[in-house]
């Protein structure tokens, strides 16, 4: 989180001063307990995804004759209608959610960020054109756009990532652009230009690092949203296909059919999604409060 300190003008009011890492973390936990809790949930999510094979008790795609068994050893969360262990499926589902969520968020925010950077820095006609293009993409609700894209492209992991990342692009572009606009007008940058520093260099070395704050906030906030959209797509049958266990898909087929007989099929995957998104949202909120005090108090 350490960023360069600019010693001129308004920029220094925006950017936090460098501090040793450990102390910053401790301060964060103390000042923003909710954010720390969110961070903890995110860490658990990532750890589960990485250690899925270790944490599982069964093979998540192995069917068996023990169908619709209630939670209890050896199936901690019960089994589904094909005799697959729910706990292991939920654990492995974290991989899909994290992978797809992270990939789409990164693709979307980086792409959008680049557009916002160029648009904000260049100004003029380029800016106007890019803005209108972003307006257009943003006019459609995220889920509708993702739905239509996924339907057009077909169900596969790559297509799902594309479908989920595209709605993020305009939102990312807008935020990064605002940030760039603020920095662009500082005396520091003016001076650099006056000294003859080339545009590319100014953009990359001076402006870009200072948008890191908003970028991190944006990425964390969108991660939760991406996980939700992936779940909704899978629920509607347009997301990641079998045999990869996806939380959203677990909720669509089995849950609807067997909700009465086996409510655990509905509860646990949904709870997993909610906790993952909740964690990223809490963390995102806290990060925004810390990194971008202009928005503090929201």
């Amino acid at each position: 989180m350490a960023v360069r300190t600019l010693d001129v003008g308004a920029a220094s009011q925006i950017l936090p001063v460098e501090r040793p890492r450990g102390a910053a973390l401790a301060r964060f936990v103390r000042k923003k307990p909710l954010g720390a809790a969110g961070g903890f949930l995110v860490v658990v999510l990532v750890a589960t995804a990485i250690l899925a094979n270790v944490l599982s008790t069964h093979n998540p795609v192995r069917t068996s004759n023990d169908i619709l068994v209630a939670p209890g050893a050896p199936h901690w969360l019960g089994t589904d209608n094909l005799g697959r262990d729910l706990y292991s499926r939920v654990v492995h589902g974290s991989r899909i959610s994290l992978l797809v969520g992270l990939a789409s968020t990164l693709v979307g925010t980086i792409l959008g960020g680049l557009i916002g950077l160029i648009s904000g820095y260049a100004g003029g006609k380029t800016d106007l054109l890019a803005q209108r293009a972003m307006d257009i993409m943003q006019a459609l609700p995220i889920l509708v756009l993702a739905l239509v894209l996924a339907a057009a492209l077909g169900p596969s992991m790559t297509n799902a990532i594309v479908a989920i990342s595209i709605p993020i692009v305009p939102r990312a572009a807008r935020i990064i652009r605002a940030s760039v606009l603020a920095i662009r007008e500082t005396t520091y940058v003016e001076a650099a230009r006056a000294l003859g520093v080339r545009h590319m260099r100014v953009a990359l070395r001076h402006i870009l690092p200072n948008t890191m704050g908003p970028f991190i906030v944006l990425a964390t906030a969108q991660l939760g949203g991406s996980i939700l959209v992936e779940a909704a797509l899978s629920f509607l049958g347009l997301g990641i296909p079998e045999p990869y266990p996806s939380w959203g898909r677990m909720l669509s087929i089995a849950a609807a059919e067997y909700a009465e007989k086996a409510p655990w099929l509905v509860i646990w995957p949904g709870l997993a999604i909610s906790l993952a998104v909740f964690g990223t949202n809490l963390l995102g909120d806290a990060l925004r409060d810390t990194l971008d005090p202009r928005l503090r108090g929201s």
């Binding site: 609700p141 995220i142 739905l147 239509v148 939700l228 629920f235 909610s274 998104v277 108090g297």
Partner: protein
């Protein structure tokens, strides 16, 4: 003000045209054309018939021509034909409109009724336990998948509380109690999630306003706190809240899509999902365009409301 309005109108038009292009080309990404899909059900296709149909539907013309033709139809209010059901799309959409409108209105109402008071309370009690609780509750609402919330609600309400509304849509003009009985739970489910966003913006707007000098002056002058809060602060915080409601709309429609599916309400949003799953591409195209138009119009309305309410814009020099 006039310049502002003109600018906004222009932007809305440009956005709509741009959207139509995006939507049109998006639908062409799908493998196979509409004729392939029409013949799926039996797998028995007469090649000569296929060619005739392709010509009939204009699928053999260049894309630009097809696009122009589509725009022309839209301008005439022709929402095209559902190839799945072999009838004009309007015939299917028309009875579904009141359902979606009612669900959206009720959901919006609930989201404001929940969001604004919670936002105010949260701001007034900033950083105290009530604030934390409310923020966690609202964030929880945003974190839950809409369809999961719907499923859990159904499990609880239907199983435990015996809530079982009519299986077919009951118009409010025919039987108002039955109609409300049918809509109140799904509207709450959607409204709860939407209220989170409104609550957060209300809270931050309120916090800004509460810090203002004239508020502190009013308090110092001895005016009752609640009075000050609800009259002055809320009035000034209303502007950003109205903006959010505009943005809310898009979010709301996304929530409607899954909620109508889960609660079995025959609305337009659910028909979009059905059309996608049935590969009824002409309908998907037109419905998506319809949604886009609604969202752009809603945002335009908010912008115009802004122009009227915000004195900075009202008296802006041309």
């Amino acid at each position: 003000m006039r310049a502002y309005i003109t600018k906004r109108l222009l932007i809305a038009v440009v956005t709509l045209v741009g959207m139509s292009m995006v939507i049109f080309f998006l639908m062409r990404l799908a493998p196979g054309n509409i004729v392939d899909i029409l013949f799926e059900s039996a797998g028995y296709v007469d090649q000569a018939d296929k060619k005739t149909l392709e010509r009939e539907l204009g699928v053999d013309r260049p894309l630009v021509v097809q696009y122009a033709r589509w725009l022309g139809e839209l301008a005439h209010g022709d929402l095209g034909k559902s190839y799945r059901y072999d009838m004009p799309a309007w015939r299917i959409i028309k009875p579904r409109l009141p359902v979606t409108l009612e669900l959206a209105s009720l959901a919006l109402l609930f989201s404001i009724l929940l969001g604004v008071p919670f936002g105010v309370l949260s701001a007034v009690h900033q950083d105290r336990p009530l604030d934390y609780v409310l923020r966690v509750l609202s964030l929880a609402g945003l974190s839950m998948p809409a369809f999961w919330l719907g499923m859990v609600v159904i499990l609880v309400f239907v199983r435990s509380l015996g809530w079982m509304p009519s299986v077919t849509y009951v118009s409010p003009f025919v039987d108002l109690p039955a109609n409300l009985w049918q809509f109140v739970v799904p509207a709450l489910a959607v409204g709860y999630r939407s209220s989170a966003l409104i609550m957060r913006i209300t809270r931050s707007a309120m916090l800004e306003v509460l810090r203002e000098d004239y508020i502190r002056t009013a308090w110092a002058k001895g005016q009752r706190r609640t009075l000050v809060v609800w009259r002055h602060a809320l009035k000034n915080a209303s502007l950003p809240v109205i903006t959010v409601i505009g943005i809310e709309f898009a979010f709301l429609i996304g929530g409607l899509v899954v909620t109508e599916t889960v609660f079995n309400l025959p609305g337009v949003a659910r028909y979009l999902v059905d059309a996608i799953q049935l590969r009824d591409y002409p309908v998907v195209q037109n419905l998506t365009m319809l949604i886009a138009i609604v969202v752009v119009l809603a945002n335009l309305a908010v912008d115009l409301l802004y122009a009227w309410a915000d004195p900075r814009i009202k008296y802006e020099k041309a």
